[in-house]
Amino acid sequence: MAPVPAPLFRWPPLLAGLLALACGEAASPPARSSGSPPQATPWPAFRDVASAVGLDFVHLSGASEALYFVEMMGPGGAFLDFDNDGDLDIFLPQGHALGPGRGPALPADRDRLFTNLLIEKGQPSGRLAFRDVSEQAGIGALGYGVAVATGDLDDDGWVDLFIAQWGPDALLRNRGDGSFEEIAGQAGVADAGWGTAATFFDADADGRLDLGLANYLRYGTSNHHSCYAPNSAPDYCGPTVYPAEADRFFHNRGGRRFEARDFGPGAVARPGLGMVAADFNGDGHQDLYVANDQAENDLWLGRGDGTFREGAVLAGLAVNGAGRVEASMGLAVGDPDGDGDEDVLITNLRGETNTFYRNDGGGLFTDATVTTGLGPPSLPWTGFGTDWLDADGDGRLDLAVANGAVSIYHERISPQDPRPLAEPQQLYRNQGAGRFRDATAETGPDLARPGVGRGLAVGDVDNDGDPDLLLVECGGPVRLLLNQAPPRRWLGLRVLDGPGRRDALGARVEVRLASGARVTHRVHTDGSYASARDPRVLLALPEGETVAAIRVRWVDGVEETFPPPPLGSYALLRRITPRR
């Protein structure tokens, strides 16, 4: 027996083995918890205001004693400003009853769009409140929704929505008048697989957003298996029971038409759950990283022309430092160590740690989990949604993780909860020097409260300059966790590219401070699990610090420098130099 936790066993993983046979295919230690240094900034509480502000979404998982795999894997959620009024609205994909012949039935099973009333008719209302506008927006019951990606696919200045579903995916084009039309079929992106993550990104720097889609498993009620936990009780199956579904890359040809393209040699169908586009190797091109469940992760290194080469193993991102695949659900890609490149955090199964891959530069990553302190507190829980955020305004990126099991806690079965999966949610505080500690207990009861955490999105929903959290539970109510941090000095940027003024997904923003420090952020909405975040760049500034300049490197490599905008509000940075 190796001192490496074995993945949770679920029966039956063996038939795949026969199938293959028959086919012949052929550093420095983290601070101990007792020795934490004193913190200069107070650690904020997060207060759940969802019901108080009219966010009354409850996810319909369709869970039953049949234990259908899909019922415990979603959903995510999205922050987006669909009406361009300057505040963040919220979109939440819905599930429905499951089983032979069961499907969505209006109106309860429709996806939900909530408009934020913080700003109404161009004027601040002074109150955070949401109104359900799903019906007037033309959003119906589109299927069994899992994940959301946001981006302006036609560069008309209005953010569109891609909804990855268990079944044909949906593409909601924003008409700009408060309504959407579903165009997945005509756009060529109505993929029928079980989509779990998607990202809009400009793979070939042609000014049009392409689409990456992570698919999970080829699973339906017709190939459903019964599975059992090691204690013999019925339980959910694991990913090795079903064949994997291939990921997709859709090249945007313009005219709201996409063309499906291969990733290239080395592409293997693997059960994808997380997907992020970023420049992982610093060569100036957009790459695509896919977190795969119990399989090697994929890193598709972009050549800048819409083609890719595979590079995960050699980059050190395919498996953890022990050479083992992990459950790999959610992805947080950012720069928590402040060295200007993209580091990667992957959330994993109970018994595995969440894994932190430090970017050593030049496209090489090291599993540095043990030096960060992020490992041990994550061992008891199954992580899904995750993202970096500066919760306390100390200038360092902290980490939020939505947890929820995928195997039933049989000891907790009760008539009220026949399939218990709830786990506590977590917030890790960045203590500097690459070290973190689990500071959830200091955030108050609302964030920590156990639930079946899946989607998680970061966004400044009340425009007060600190990041809030949208936490989406499987089969439960959504949480909107408002950051209660004291007022801070902050810089907010909305970075826009193209003639239509779309969010410049993939652009790198370097904020140069008067002290000489530089802080870099990638403009993005992707990552986490099945969710889409606030595209705006948000930066807290210490007392006495000022911004000297802002430099933006656009996706096509053009760089522009902007003078410092005023602090304490969101400024627009619009590209001036024409595209190459």
């Binding site: 027996m1 190796a2 001192p3 490496v4 936790p5 074995a6 066993f9 029966w11 039956p12 063996l14 038939l15 083995g17 026969l18 199938l19 046979l21 028959a22 086919c23 550093a27 420095s28 983290p30 101990r32 080829r218 017709s222 190939n223 459903h224 298996h225 019964s226 059992y228 090691p230 204690n231 013999s232 009780a233 064949p243 090697e296 193993v313 050699l314 050190g316 395919a318 498996v319 430092g321 022990a322 050479g323 083992r324 018994g351 740690t353 090291t366 599993d367 043990v370 030096t371 960060t372 302190g373 490992g375 041990p376 507190p377 994550s378 061992l379 049989h410 000891e411 907790r412 079965i413």
Partner: protein, 373 residues
């Protein structure tokens, strides 16, 4: 052995002076009663039988080490069925009443490890090592915990000690390789990973670690070679106390689980034996038949696999399972050269699950081979 519920020196001296032994401690812990409703009947009966036995011991007023051992053994049963909280309660009581037997501390350490309480798990293993300083499993597990806690300075001497006792221990080398790789000492990582691989060539996950390290060393040819050989079989070592837990659970599903684990470890003979026992207990459970058929086929014992899979297909099956079983049996017939039966079974596989792309592809290939379209 004399035991005393108030083990202070004064009381002990007094008791000895009076020529009597102090009273042996009893238990105040009630027998934990976790919810077993979802367990298969054999497992439930097994656990309930052990619970009754423990309750009878308590009713008889048993005390001391004997009672402690009984608590520990009940804890092992719970642990074998992943009833971790009841197991931990039992092992704590066992430790209190039977402090001489280090197993209870060892098992409790592993329960804390599973909960992510690595510091407590390491502390408990430290207690075991204080009494058994050359116990290799305890050395390696504690080193693994200290490494995960980021305390490599504590982990390294434990591994050195383990390697001084068992110089080829693959897991000790494996952890040393991880420590070295994470510190950027890729040459050292390669040396230890190669040593582990030499000892355990089937530990395919070592190849992926080696691929990364060779890539960092600039040897892309070796990196690619190891990448191609990579898999998910981790290096392993003998841990008798943990292995004792694995044989405790009963019932067809337990045999299935143990068989599957054996199969994942490449131990096909053991897997076949476990699956045969599952079939013997539950002859109408398709899972048992299908896994036995799969293991036999993997062992290339095709003539034995075919009747087993045929029996499985005679049972009521979920469509997806029927599709896979038909596909597998069809491929076995195809390998035997019986294309007609193979095609019929592949057609059945596609009919049961039209999305079974593998079956559809093979069916098409067989038809083309036979001149059909």
């Amino acid at each position: 052995m004399v035991r005393c519920s108030h083990p202070t020196l004064v009381l002990l001296v007094l008791a000895l002076a009076l020529g009597c032994t102090p009273p042996e401690p009893g238990s105040t812990l009630a027998v934990p009663a976790p919810n077993l409703a979802a367990f298969e009947p054999a497992a439930r009966e097994h656990i309930e039988g052990e619970q009754r036995e423990m309750a009878e011991r308590l009713a008889r007023g048993e005390k001391g080490a004997k009672l402690g051992a009984a608590w520990g053994e009940l804890g092992m049963i719970y642990q074998a069925y992943e009833l971790d909280e009841p197991a931990a309660a039992c092992h704590r009581e066992a430790r209190r009443l039977d402090p001489v037997d280090d197993r209870w501390t060892y098992y409790l350490a592993h329960l804390h490890r599973k909960k992510g309480e690595l510091e407590e798990a390491s502390r408990l293993l430290g207690e075991v090592l204080a009494k058994r300083p050359h116990d290799v499993p305890s050395l390696i597990w504690r080193a693994s915990l200290e490494h995960k806690l980021g305390h490599d300075a504590e982990a390294e001497p434990l591994l050195e000690h383990a390697l001084s006792i068992e110089p080829q221990n693959p897991v000790a080398h494996f952890i040393k390789a991880q420590i070295a790789a994470q510190a950027g000492r890729h040459g050292e990582a390669v040396r230890h990973a190669e040593a582990a691989l030499a000892r355990q060539p089937g530990a395919s996950s070592l190849h992926l670690l080696l691929a990364t390290s060779y890539a960092r060393l600039g040897d892309s040819a070796k990196a690619e070679r190891h990448r191609a050989a990579g898999g998910q079989q981790a290096p392993a070592f003998q841990d008798p106390w943990l292995q004792a837990l694995r044989s405790l659970s009963v019932g067809a599903r337990s045999h299935l689980i143990r068989g599957s684990q054996a199969m994942q470890n490449g131990q096909l003979g053991m897997a076949i034996e476990e699956f045969r026992q599952a079939v013997a207990i539950a002859p109408t459970d398709p899972s048992a038949q299908l896994n036995l058929g799969a293991a036999l086929a993997q062992a290339r014992r095709f003539e034995e696999a075919i009747p087993v899979l045929e029996q499985a297909l005679a049972l009521p099956l979920e469509p997806g399972t029927r599709s896979k079983a038909s596909f597998n049996l069809g491929m076995l017939y195809a390998m035997k050269g019986d294309r007609s039966r193979a095609i019929a079974l592949l057609e059945a596989a596609v009919a049961a699950d039209p999305g079974n792309a593998g079956a559809a592809r093979q069916l098409e290939a067989l038809r083309q081979d036979r001149g059909e379209r």
